[in-house]
């Protein structure tokens, strides 16, 4: 059971380049989330999705784009990477029921923007 996976695990890119981080879950969870975690800080929500083709902004959406054409995939794109987007990115998912509050996290992608 693969659960939730992220790729790549590590990425170095340059300012101005487009970067896409992938997230894939095998549980058919309705909700998926993207967070960023900066050194020494907690997680901040970038975008989330309630179902395929339904996405919404979180706390820090600027500079990011998401899509969700299939339930199991939730890619995050940095259209023009900036140094301030250097961070660790976590994808998470959860079920949709009213009592299904636990989020399941992927292992993270460490992104460095030079």
């Amino acid at each position: 059971d693969a659960g939730i996976t992220q790729s790549p695990r590590y990425k170095i890119t340059e300012t101005g380049r487009q970067v896409t981080l992938m997230c894939h879950q095998t549980w058919s969870h309705s909700y998926m989330f993207w967070y960023r975690q900066d050194l020494g800080h907690g997680l901040r929500l970038i975008y989330y999705s309630a179902a395929a083709d339904i996405t919404d902004k979180g706390e820090v959406p600027d500079g990011y784009v998401v899509s969700r054409s299939k339930t199991e995939n939730f890619p995050l794109t940095l259209e023009s990477a900036t140094r301030s987007q250097t961070s660790v990115y976590f994808c998470a998912s959860r079920l949709a029921g009213p009592l299904d509050d636990e989020q399941f996290f992927g292992p993270g992608t460490r992104l460095t923007v030079l």
Partner: protein, 111 residues
């Protein structure tokens, strides 16, 4: 601004001692959750407490919630070296599906 804030930022104790960390938040919540993060890893869910609950137990974990003070505490009893990690509280803001995480408490349990 962040919804949840943990206190203390760092905590160092001996194995066998109890560890208590606190979380304060700002707005009404649906539930509050605690997560653990080992160094370089993703977060793992520990325990959830709903807004109508005051106390919850799970193994060596005890969580309390005081909605009047907008605060929660996580107690880990009889700590072990393996409990060394960062602990985060996350609040599920009422009627949204957005989770707000605090900045975490870094716990070091010395063997």
């Amino acid at each position: 601004s962040q919804q949840g804030e943990e206190d203390p930022q760092a905590l160092s104790i001996q194995e066998g001692e109890n560890a208590t960390m606190n979380c304060s938040y700002k707005t009404s919540i649906n539930n509050l959750q605690w997560y653990r993060q080992n160094s370089g890893r993703g977060l793992v869910h520990l325990i959830l407490i709903r807004s109508n609950e005051r106390e919850k137990h799970s193994g060596r974990l005890r969580v309390t919630l005081d909605t009047s003070k907008k605060s929660s505490s996580l107690l880990i009893t009889a700590s072990r070296a393996a409990d060394t990690a960062s602990y985060f509280c996350a609040t599920d803001v009422y009627n949204f599906n957005k989770f707000y995480f605090g900045s975490g408490t870094k716990l070091n349990v010395k063997p």
